[in-house]
């Protein structure tokens, strides 16, 4: 096998490792994502008056919340964790969204898949060319 073919196979291996690593990292992150609803909580008396815990902001979505203090003890109508939006804002927390992890890991994963395929095809092509020239 020529040196060039070896380089291509190494590239393919790196692409494969990168692809697997991306999947592992993404799945680890996504396993911590929970269905949440951001709310801006009312004070106790306003909540009693309106019968609502606060103002819902945005749709329910899967978020990765690292700070447990941001999560309110109540749950939403569909069992969502209620997240205190005021706490997030005050502490400059911008929670990671599951859809962002899926989107980015998808792009990176396809990139590594491309690297793997280029390395594999290139390595096989160079190897077969070398074998052909040796058999002549």
């Amino acid at each position: 096998m020529t040196k060039a073919a070896k380089v291509f196979f190494w590239i393919a291996l790196l692409g494969l490792i990168g692809r697997v690593a991306t999947l592992v990292v993404a799945q680890t992150k996504l396993s911590r994502a929970e269905l949440t609803q951001r709310i801006r909580p009312y004070d106790k008396d306003t909540a009693a008056l309106t019968g609502e815990p606060g103002d819902a902001l945005g749709p329910s979505e899967k978020l990765i919340i690292d700070d447990p203090k941001a999560i309110l003890p109540l749950k939403g109508k569909e069992g969502q964790r209620l997240v205190n939006e005021e706490y997030l804002t005050k502490n400059g927390i911008y929670p990671l969204q599951a859809k962002t992890v899926e989107y980015v890991s998808g792009l990176v994963g396809y990139g590594f898949l491309g690297v793997f395929l280029v390395g594999l095809v290139g390595g096989i092509f160079l190897r077969s060319r070398t074998l052909k020239s040796q058999s002549r």
Binding site: R40, Y42, L49, L57, G58, Q97, K99, Y103
Partner: protein, 196 residues
């Protein structure tokens, strides 16, 4: 015949009198929220501001009302300072030239309970267009519960939402932000207003 007409007129004027005027505001400014919600494949984001002001009228008997509410667009916070700066810039909302967005609700139709269909006009970035959306309106006459929550007078809780297309209001998403910001966004208003 004349008596019937007079009676009809007097009942009409009575129903007009029953429409109350409310001013947006309450003991907790953080509970006055305007939000803009964008959903894209990459991420969802919410921009919010508490800088909401205006007047509403509501008649609890006929379940009809109007609204004229303004929002300071330069105060919208999306959670990322750089994005806030972009939103204020001339290409986006141009907050310097058009500091306020205005909602004028001219028609409300009760859908039963607290649910309403509302229609009117939205002015954003100097462009005025007709809008239609849904709202939840809760009316709380002055009581120990409203006083306990530190409201003065009767209280109106209004939550409304409308979907708009940004390009209809001359808001053009620049190429680098395409895919990160949705072309169609939801504007939501959640306010308390009082007669006090």
């Amino acid at each position: 015949m004349i008596i019937t007409s007079l009676l009809a007129l007097s009942s009409m004027s009575l129903s007009l009198v029953q429409a109350k005027t409310f001013t947006v505001g309450g003991p907790n400014p953080a509970a006055q929220i305007f939000s803009v919600e964008s959903q894209s494949d990459f991420e969802d984001f919410i921009g919010t501001t508490n800088q909401v002001s205006g007047k509403l009228t509501y008649d609890p008997k006929t379940k009809t009302g109007t609204a004229n509410v303004s929002v300071k667009v330069g105060s919208i916070d999306t959670g990322i300072p750089l994005r806030n700066d972009h939103m204020k810039s001339a290409g986006w909302l141009d907050a310097e030239k058009f500091p306020e967005a205005t909602f004028v609700v001219t028609d409300t139709k009760s859908m039963g309970g607290d649910k309403y269909k509302v229609s009117g006009k939205l002015t954003l970035k100097g462009v005025t267009k007709s809008i239609a959306g849904e709202a939840t309106i809760k009316y709380f006459p002055e009581s120990s519960a409203t006083k306990g929550a530190r409201f003065k007078g009767d209280v109106l809780q209004v939550k409304g939402s409308v979907k708009i297309k940004l390009s209809d209001y001359n808001v053009v998403i620049p190429a680098p932000a395409k895919g990160k910001v949705a072309e169609n966004v939801t504007l939501k208003l959640s306010v308390f207003a009082t007669t006090g």
